[in-house]
Symmetry: C2
Subunit: 391 residues, 2 copies
Amino acid sequence: MEPIRVGVVGVGNMGSAHAKNILDGKVRGMTLAAVCDIEPQKLCWAEENLPGAARFSDYEEMLQSGLIDMVIVAAPHYLHPPMGISGFRHGLHVLIEKPAGVYVKQVEELNAAAKQSGKLFGIMLNQRMNPLYRKARALVQSDALGEPKRCVWIITNWYRTQAYYDSGSWRATWAGEGGGVLLNQCPHHLDLWQWIFGMPKRIRGFCQYGRWHDIEVEDDVTAYAEYENGAAGVLITSTGETPGTNRLEISGDKGKLVLEDGKMAFWELDTPERELCFTSKDGFLTPAAACREILPDGEDTAHIGILQNFANAVLYGEPLIAPGYDGINGLQISNAIHFSDWTGETVELPVDGERFYELLQERASHSRRKEHVVSEISDLQGTYNDRWKSR
Amino acid sequence: MEPIRVGVVGVGNMGSAHAKNILDGKVRGMTLAAVCDIEPQKLCWAEENLPGAARFSDYEEMLQSGLIDMVIVAAPHYLHPPMGISGFRHGLHVLIEKPAGVYVKQVEELNAAAKQSGKLFGIMLNQRMNPLYRKARALVQSDALGEPKRCVWIITNWYRTQAYYDSGSWRATWAGEGGGVLLNQCPHHLDLWQWIFGMPKRIRGFCQYGRWHDIEVEDDVTAYAEYENGAAGVLITSTGETPGTNRLEISGDKGKLVLEDGKMAFWELDTPERELCFTSKDGFLTPAAACREILPDGEDTAHIGILQNFANAVLYGEPLIAPGYDGINGLQISNAIHFSDWTGETVELPVDGERFYELLQERASHSRRKEHVVSEISDLQGTYNDRWKSR
């Protein structure tokens, strides 16, 4: 079978990494055909480092070139939906970087375009390849934990200094990025939260804007979520704490699961709690619950795993692990947290996309110009693995 | 010096334990002089088990008897304030069980009566004797952690079965107890939360009523708190999960503290984070933070420790570790959580005591009669130590 000819738009941190991986033959069934960027120096870099790939400064030209079968969209957040839509309109398969977009309204349009095209649609939610999270999901989905009761995720290991925020004019602005930690650092967690535990029914969000840094967007967030079955959830994230924590606790009718420091502990009850509650004559029961460490199956194939799965989906019909359509879920939660904080009210999901867009536009229209931008720095610099170490 | 002659009102779980401890000579400087209960069988028990103590079925008679110098109030929650006030009016020292009361309005009156009397006023917040919590407080107060940033406390190890709630007609009713987990199981934590981390400025509370049990009050609570300095806090508690969690995490400008499973870990930064944030040129800094286990000093003297401290305060002027006046703080938080949930709004502290009382009365007036009450069971049965094991 002919390999899939890939075009990458946005040769920044992520786009260049994907292009290199494909060029280096790390993804069976994919070949790097073209790259596109509006910045000349990125194309110079590509000329040197991505031999054989056609170079475009105009995205539409790359789409129309006939050189590619699929496009990987690794441009800034706001551009993911329109670029994805263009890709579908040109009959290409599309794989977008996370987040799916900045506001759900535009992602609904993206999803509609994908559906209409019939082409494959993926999203780079590479943490879905993390075997610990896969295992946690399997335990929840297989009912090993029983009916879900609570999910508490403390994710404060996203420490950033002011230098990080000073490194790009678009960074941490309403106009340029559309949000802070919720849009930039947290989308993987927001996706995993719902992928593992399900979508909340309503959310009350609390954001602090520029709490730890001289920025206009949120860098400190607490969210309270309620689920259809009455379960409750809390998610806490920040870029202003160090050393941070990454601890996920899920409790259910049959036990409890805790992921921390790259380890997963599972307490399993002999009898489901709901049954004990109404049959025991002992008011202060402390049911036996064996605790064991759950070892994940396999390795974390990360970004390459997502690319390989996408290639297999195109070539052999393998089901997508991270369908592009799922991207809206984490964004729904992100938008709901902002919406709730802006209105001071609990927000039902799905959020009112039109109203959210208006509120976001209001903020974007007042985005201040940054004055102390130093230079672009890589999002992957050094700490990528560390960041996920405690998973 | 003459020993303090103690009268105990309420010979239930806690009252009988205090009386026994004093009778057994476990508190230097206190002697058990009298007990009081409205239930004849409790006085029968006292006749057999508390030899030498005068027995009263009328509280006022005990206060007027001239037999006692101080009273320990271990009656149901609602009675703590009026009984304390009576004690002060009779010129006695007063030590009340927790919670200080059910609504702040009545505790304000209690505090005023205490102040007017000039007598000593204590509250049985025995967890303040727990060396781990004392150490945690010392680290926060001594600025070893630096400016406080966040405090997250998951306290879901208060599991109760339906049998517990069926064991008393007053239990878990608005009229009889005035609340659920916030009033019965959680007052120690609510006190420690503010004792260690300070009083919040505002609170948004989320309660679920009868979520896990056939009761009318809350058995599942999440609270989000904001502090004067911008710090954020979360407290989660429930009586419907097992195995539960008791994990307290406090982060500050100089590090992080985690108490779990009876252990305390302290991550200490070489340089305060706020300084690093604005001086580092590295956007993705991961500052070195040595982690060490903090060993508590001394033993947990618990209830006897509080009694001994009170005796020493009366006899030798030793400062009280748990002044009765502090009791209102945890109750402010508890009332604020209810108030917030009832109104759907964030509540500024101190709460509007009059308005809260009205809303509580509304609920109490609709309290349903319980139909399946089995028999009183001891709050201390078996699991007391287990409950605090993971501190």
